[in-house]
Symmetry: C2
Subunit: 229 residues, 2 copies
């Protein structure tokens, strides 16, 4: 029987590349997108197209209306998300959404346990990233241990594996790997802002631009007429 993996799909380029790598390993993909009230709802539309491209067996979009509980500039349309490349990864930025990845993984683990999925794949990355505390190997190890001790499968000796295939790749490596796998980067959305075109100035836009530049190919999601602020 083909193994199943829950793929946390944000709509961005990292998560779809990670999912495509795991699919290539032979897993059936069950895509999961959690809409936690972030203002870049544009990502959800991207996630839907990417799930179809991945050939996901199912794609669940879960609405988690907790934005009122959280304090993060990603949730607040008033706050500036403009970044400075020099400070990326050096401190926890204002765009950090408290506890986001733990919530995402907890929901993914619940679904995984329900359908008997062997793995969860997540596009966390510790190289070209924003310095969030819930992206590193310590976090993944701690969550793997949680799943091991608190699920039926874990207690029966077959815990759900947390796969993070791009964790140590640079953004350029991700662009290369995604291109090799045919990932439709045109459909991915990385910008922290929710406009019609990427802003070009947030952490996420800066890191993405750096990745495509390093590989020397144009970013297909950026139209030639885009106004780069």
């Amino acid at each position: 029987m083909t193994k199943k993996a829950i793929a946390l799909l944000s709509g961005g380029m990292d998560s779809v590349t990670a999912a495509a790598m795991v699919k290539k390993q032979g897993y059936d993909i069950y895509a999961l997108t959690v809409s936690y009230g972030q203002r870049h709802a544009r990502e959800i539309e991207s996630a839907k197209r990417l799930a179809i491209w991945l050939g996901a067996k199912e794609h669940e979009v879960v609405d988690l209306p907790i934005s009122r509980l959280l304090r993060s500039s990603l949730m607040n349309p008033e706050e500036d998300v403009t970044s400075d490349e020099k400070t990326i990864g050096k401190k926890i930025p204002a765009t950090y959404v408290p506890g986001r990845n733990a919530i995402l993984l907890a929901i993914a683990a619940a679904w995984a346990e329900s359908i008997g999925a062997e793995a969860i794949v997540m596009g966390v990355n510790v190289v070209d990233y924003s310095g969030y505390p819930d992206c590193g190997q310590n976090f993944i190890d701690a969550f793997s241990n949680l799943v091991k001790v608190s699920t039926r499968g874990g207690m029966e000796g077959h815990p759900i594996e947390i796969l993070t295939p791009i964790t140590k790749m640079s953004k350029a490596d991700i662009v290369r790997k995604g291109t090799e796998l045919g990932v439709p980067f045109k459909e991915t959305w990385s910008c922290y802002k929710g406009g019609g075109e990427p802003c070009g100035v947030c952490d996420s836009c800066i890191l993405r631009k750096k990745g495509f530049s390093a590989v020397g190919i144009p970013d297909p999601a950026i139209s030639k007429t885009s106004s780069k602020k």
Copy 2:
């Protein structure tokens, strides 16, 4: 400044007793109830009344529509939740909701981090319980570690504490402690079914009955005209 604790409040007798104990230690209570599509929506009404009794500074009821992802008899009105006292705690029962407590704690931790709460209090119990894998000390330790490595506070040396004051108390101990603290047990709802009166035959009703019997006081939530199936 008074310390803050997020109290996970289900509407049942365990969580409110745990919250009352932590309040007595001097914490301000921020109550959190997650409605995950369980059929005993009756619990939510109880939780609201109990939050008021606790004098909670805030009470957030979060709607988490993930029942379609999960497989559990608690979610399925067709399935029988009737239990047998002899088997309680011996195996993982059908009423187990996969990953529930990890999701609840992850949301609580996110809120705690957002408002600078020092603690989360949860009414998990390993004595008179249903044998769910996500109630034991291993689970709590694993989650505490997760919070330690993946939150701003944890990285800065003041991780959120997970308080589980009733974890080793019997149901009778909980009845005694709650009575001492004035917990309005009449307002609590324990039954896995959602009817007007507790069913009396599910795990939760059986354990509750056992607790009140052992202390030798009547359960104020059971009306004298209740039909005990």
